[in-house]
């Protein structure tokens, strides 16, 4: 993104009075942290620039294990393009997020443009083009969890993470994770825990910071957590 903005500012287009005016507006919006649209969306295409090209595998250094894993995935489908999602996920795991380099590597292996991959990455919630952290806590605040006060769990976790200085973690209010039987719940790096109380928040954060499994015995897959068809009652809220 940064180079695109820089280029727009220095180009002839930016000097056009109308365009320059709009750029001022955009700068302001960006400064306020809330651009309503992507910067430069209304600028004409730069016809002098080369169209996006598919990077050549010979020009991009792709770590061998990444290459092997992506190529294996591609071999599973009648059309190798189907492996875009698995490939992006493999790269994301490898790099922590879908950095420019990660995109370039996947593009070179899959023979597509990085822009194509970017169009995919921006569509799916679990693919990140920005570093959001190696760990994640997705707190479900969707309908059923909402009915058992999930917002308070989310707030408590955010607060605990701030207080305990938890870094490198993407904390998000998420839509239904398909575990409403343990409402309100959260997914900590893919491990489902619940039903949660706000007072569980510090323990979750501490465990993540210290590399422990949070709330042992209360994960979905923990032995005897919840026999199918007989969930535990959700915790009754102390103060509604």
């Amino acid at each position: 993104m940064a180079d695109r903005d820089g280029q727009a500012n220095g180009s002839v287009r930016a000097e056009h009075p109308l365009v320059a005016d709009r750029l001022v507006g955009l700068d302001h919006q960006i400064a306020s942290g809330k651009p309503s649209v992507a910067a430069g969306w209304d600028l004409p295409a730069d016809l002098d620039k080369d169209p996006a090209v598919i990077p050549q595998l010979a020009d991009v250094r792709v770590p061998p294990e990444l290459l092997a894993e992506i190529e294996y995935r591609m071999s599973l489908y009648p059309d190798p393009r189907s492996a875009v999602l698995p490939a992006l996920k493999i790269a994301q795991r490898h790099h922590g997020y879908l950095s420019t380099l990660a995109m370039l590597q996947v593009a070179a292996v899959m023979k597509v443009t990085p822009a194509y991959l970017s169009s995919i990455a921006s569509f799916y919630d679990m693919l990140n083009e920005e570093p959001l952290g190696r760990h994640y806590i997705y707190v479900c605040t969707s309908v059923s969890c909402h009915l058992s006060n999930a917002k308070r769990i989310y707030d408590a976790i955010v607060e605990a993470a701030e207080k305990l200085d938890l870094g490198d973690t993407d904390i998000r209010a998420f839509e239904c994770l398909g575990a409403c039987d343990m409402q309100p719940m959260a997914s900590v790096d893919g491990r489902y825990v619940g039903p949660l109380k706000p007072s569980d928040a510090p323990e979750i954060v501490l465990a993540l910071r210290e590399g422990r499994v949070p709330l042992p015995g209360r994960g979905l897959d923990d032995p005897d957590h919840m026999p199918a068809g007989a969930g535990d009652p959700p915790p009754q809220d102390e103060a509604k």
């Binding site: 599973l76 489908y77 009648p78 059309d79 393009r81 189907s82 492996a83 875009v84 999602l85 698995p86 992006l88 996920k89 169009s119 995919i120 569509f123 799916y124 919630d125 679990m126 693919l127 997705y138 605040t141 969707s142 309908v143 059923s144 909402h146 009915l147 058992s148 839509e175 239904c176 994770l177 398909g178 575990a179 409403c180 039987d181 343990m182 409402q183 997914s187 893919g190 491990r191 489902y192 979905l220 897959d221 919840m226 026999p227 199918a228 068809g229 007989a230 969930g231 535990d232 009652p233 959700p234 009754q236 509604k240």
Partner: protein, 443 residues
Amino acid sequence: MKAPPLRLLEDIDEPGLHLLEVYERRGGYSSLRKALTELDQDEVLQRISDSEIRGRGGAGFPMGMKAGFVPKGDMDKYLICNADESEPGAFKDRVLIQKNPHLLVEGCIIGARAIGANQAFIYIRGEYAHQADILERAVAEAYTAGYLGKDILEIGFDLELVVHRGAGAYICGEEMALLDSLEGKRGNPRLKPPFPANAGVYQGPTLLNNVETLCNVPLIVGLGAEEFRKLGTEQSIGTKVVSVSGNVQRPGNYEVPMGTTVREIIYDLAGGPPEGREIKCFFPGGSSAPVLTGDEGLDLRYDFETMAQAGSMLGSGSMIVVDDSQPLVPLALRLAEFYRHESCGKCVPCREGTNWTVKMLERIDSGEATPMDFELLVQVQTNILGNCLCVLGDSMAMPVGSMLAKFRHEFERHAAEARARNEGALVEQSAPELAAAPSIGPA
């Protein structure tokens, strides 16, 4: 209520059921043997058709009919299992996959055999990482045992099965969007027709079914269509795994014969609302279904036809119960926010409609709504319905529209109370001496 007979969940608590060895010990893969060695391809299809099983993924379309649309003959055909389960309130497929993955694998193989497909995919939502691991292990076991791969059971039938993980997009559960996503594109729904049975993934004929639908297939083959039809109602055959959540004492998955009453499901099985609470309304078929009030719905039979007659739908079979302590405006807002976030943006009525619905509900919630907002909110819902490539927008318009129709007074009261609070706060801020006067102080 006596314990209902179980089919899909019968063995679910058996330790190690996800392993081939235990599954086979419980009679697993015997239906596959039967389907492949005792019946020919057309007989398998006939059996599925005769069972009259309807899809469990939302639309309730008869599986046999859909499979019958797939052209016969030698060509590249595909079977896809839709395991994207992302609708708020739905979690039945998760349990089936996690606890009994081989049942699904067996169902996929028999389903593929019925239409003559040699390639199958299970599209599972990305968040179900652990479940996908379990499923992949089961698939690997099935390959080793010779139930998948080349020349299955030495009858000259080949099938490859790939578990494909999504990456967090509810829209990819919609069948046409799923096809695009599986082809490595953004998950935008395609225009129908052509339907997947004619031109699905890679433009080949494709049969696409939900997890629970396919899990029933081994039972249909094993029991025979006639025995299978003994449970359920005339138009809704078999059992249904119902995910019950929201304000109930025992949220969970409960398998019941179709036609069981809603009251039995919510009260006898799920324990009813918390002590001292009444049911205000419930979503009979996940967050996309129009709500029914407790009075309207509790004594109805839970099956496709009764729910449709009552103006709602059975959908994926997830019940979300809302008790009388819950304000509906924040609930409607959460719902609308979900659909706004998940709208793929391709069709204008859905993209703009979900966005404006959120804005208007926010205004109602914060007390900034004008009387016009209520009318407009209703109109926006009406204008989304039936006007898009897929029914994601409708899935918001139906529940929000039904809440507005049935609880309009509550929405208006909520807005009026919020407005009075705001005005009170304003007076207090700008003229504290007036605020102290009882007549104009905060309500």
